[in-house]
């Protein structure tokens, strides 16, 4: 039968719903991004600087948590149904997790945006890292918890589908896309324990006033227990597309199925015991633990380096299938006119550059120079902000037609959109890296100070600000083009096969690979042991230092902020 929507109409409806939530957040988040880029650099300040932090919290939460994860929920639902070749076991469960995640996300968004209307008395200007003892309204923590529980239910849905499939196919290898979904979810279950404990046992009771104090270092460490693996939770949908869809778009097929499995297993094992690398500059955690986290982090480069190989090799294979020749000339034979292909290829390229700046972050001593400077947003707008976000947008050009049975409104506009994102990001992120080296801080409404100036190695601060503002503007235009293209596509007339949705089998299939690769219990067990090894001692010493509940009372973000500001400025 024709395409995904014809084969699995009920699943397609859920995927469409998750994508709508994802794209709405993308639109709002990108608008906030533009406001930030113009405000920080001093070009246009439509808001009071106090409200900058409301916008910034919204930007971080809507893009890094809502957009990426809702896209993931849809993509994984699509991948499980199509690769197992069967509908999900019970569509009511599927709608239930959609309802719960959406309600949770909406509550969080309401708690944040209410900060713009002071008379409501609700505020959650705590940024997406919500470090205590800054205290948000309980709605924020409650919504967050609902959202996480919803993702757990989604994982259960996919595991149930797998179990049903396994009963009918006792001897088959797990289909590759399902394998990717299941390993990613196992990693997610393991790592979300950190935020769940932090929110449910500490922050929520404390925001309601049931307990008086928190231990700020403990909740911070629990956040990063989750905060690094979440990076891979963003990245795995992109990897799924790079491994299983990009080779096909390039005109070829995946190089090696077993190697793809190895990569996903490595992520399951290594993603969580590294979170302390975000805390190199935190007092109260000894250097030894930081050193262990650093070593693990470096090994976590391995699966990404392997991915780089597979992606390039598969693209070259595709190009040669299309008649490409020579050492570099084959590049010209790739389907550059296809926005889905070009977007993913540009995203992969940007990821390579982001990888280099990441290696610098991971080195403990260099980290001292750039910690909490603009370098860091410069880095992650290349990784999550481009490698992930651009792959998701590009992938949508190929996926959405399968979900609606309607063709894409305009391929040339799509192409322009992905190229515009790439160019915009080059400007913004390059300038952010440089400004970071000069010491310009991140998360700051007005990084212009009274008692000193920043000095840059090359060029001037003014020039860097112009690049940030210009890049941010291009990025915003790109998002607008994307949303319009998708919106207009929904008015096209339905057709038989709006896009070629077949995925050819890999060059070397799973058959020859060791069976142990598919042993999910074994890998989960090892992952748990690694986490226990990396975290027991640091958490233990943090708790013995200041107690489980510490001695920091709450500092609600709503305390008459404006009056305080006047006092400071005066």
């Amino acid at each position: 039968m024709a395409t995904f929507v014809d084969r699995y109409p009920e699943e397609a409806a859920v995927v469409r719903a998750t994508f709508v939530v994802a794209f709405v957040s993308l639109g709002i988040g990108a608008f906030f991004g533009l406001i930030q880029a113009l405000h920080r650099t001093g070009y246009v300040r439509i808001l009071d600087s106090v409200d900058y932090y409301t916008i910034l919290t919204g930007h971080g939460v809507l893009l890094a948590l809502v957009f990426t994860i809702f896209f993931l929920l849809g993509l994984f639902t699509w991948a499980v149904a199509r690769s197992l070749e069967r509908p999900l076991p019970d569509i009511r469960l599927t709608w239930a997790w959609f309802g719960l995640t959406t309600t949770g996300a909406t509550l969080v968004a309401v708690a944040i945006l209410a900060g713009l209307i002071p008379s409501l008395g609700v505020s959650a200007d705590v940024l997406y890292t919500f470090y205590a003892p800054l205290q948000a309204h309980p709605l924020f923590y409650a919504g967050l918890t609902m959202f996480i529980v919803g993702t757990w239910m989604a994982g259960a849905d996919w595991f149930l589908a797998y179990r049903a499939w396994r009963a009918d196919n006792p001897d088959d290898r797990i289909p590759l896309q399902t394998f990717m979904v299941l390993t990613t979810m196992l990693m997610w279950y393991l790592s979300t324990i950190g935020v769940a404990v932090s929110a449910v046992f500490f922050l929520l009771p404390w925001s309601f006033g049931i307990v008086e104090t928190v231990n700020p270092l403990l909740t911070r460490t629990l956040f990063w227990f989750f905060g690094h693996p979440v990076v891979y939770f963003w990245l795995m949908p992109a990897y799924l597309l790079w491994y299983t869809v990009l080779p096909k778009l390039a005109g070829g097929r995946l190089f090696s199925d077993p190697l793809a499995r190895v990569v996903f297993v490595l992520f399951l094992l290594l993603s969580t015991p590294v979170g302390i690398h975000h805390q190199y500059l935190d007092p109260g955690i000894s250097e030894g633990f930081k050193f262990i986290a650093m070593t693990n982090t470096m090994f976590l480069l391995l699966p990404s380096l392997l991915t780089a190989f597979t992606v390039v090799a598969s693209m070259e294979h595709g190009a040669r299938q299309r008649g490409g020749e020579g050492y570099f000339k084959w590049l010209g034979a790739l389907p550059w006119r296809d926005p889905a292909f070009t977007g993913m290829a540009l995203a992969g390229l940007m990821f390579a550059a982001g990888g280099f700046s990441g290696m610098i972050n991971a080195g403990m001593n260099i980290n001292y120079l750039i910690h909490n400077t603009l370098w860091v947003p410069g880095h992650f707008h290349m990784t999550v902000g481009t490698a992930v976000a651009l792959t998701m947008m590009a992938g949508s050009y190929w996926l959405v037609p399968q979900l609606t049975g309607k063709r894409l409104y305009s391929r040339p506009i799509g192409l322009l959109q992905v190229v515009l994102w790439f160019v915009g990001m080059v400007f913004m992120s390059n300038a952010m890296h440089r400004a970071g080296l000069a010491g310009v801080p991140r998360r700051t409404a007005e990084p212009q100070y009274q008692s000193f100036d920043f000095s840059t190695a090359l060029g001037s601060v003014g020039e860097l600000q112009a690049q940030i503002a210009f890049g941010g503007f291009l990025l915003f235009v790109s998002v607008v083009l994307f949303l319009f293209n998708i919106l207009l596509s929904s008015f096209e007339t339905p057709m038989e096969s709006p896009v070629d949705d077949s995925l050819p089998a890999p060059l070397s299939g799973a058959e020859g690979s060791p069976l142990v690769l598919d042993d999910l219990r074994l890998w989960t067990g090892i992952a748990i042991v690694l986490v226990i090894l990396a975290y027991t001692l640091p958490l233990g010493s943090i708790v013995t230092d200041a107690g489980l509940f510490g001695d920091s009372p709450g500092f609600p973000v709503l305390i008459d902020a404006v009056a305080m500001l006047k006092e400071v400025v005066a």
Partner: protein
Amino acid sequence: MKLTRAGVLILVAFSVPVAIELRTVFGLFGIDLPLAAVGVFEVILVAAILVAYAITAEPETATGP
């Protein structure tokens, strides 16, 4: 090798980071280029790409899928 219009767009996109990082390269040798140099260099790159397109291009309809 024939250059399509899509190919030109991609090459122009690639030329942007190359032009921006030109300054870093010169910086390593102790030469501080002004911003204008980057602009001029970018214009030269774009011109080169367009010339290559004009020379190699075939009618758009005749090129592949």
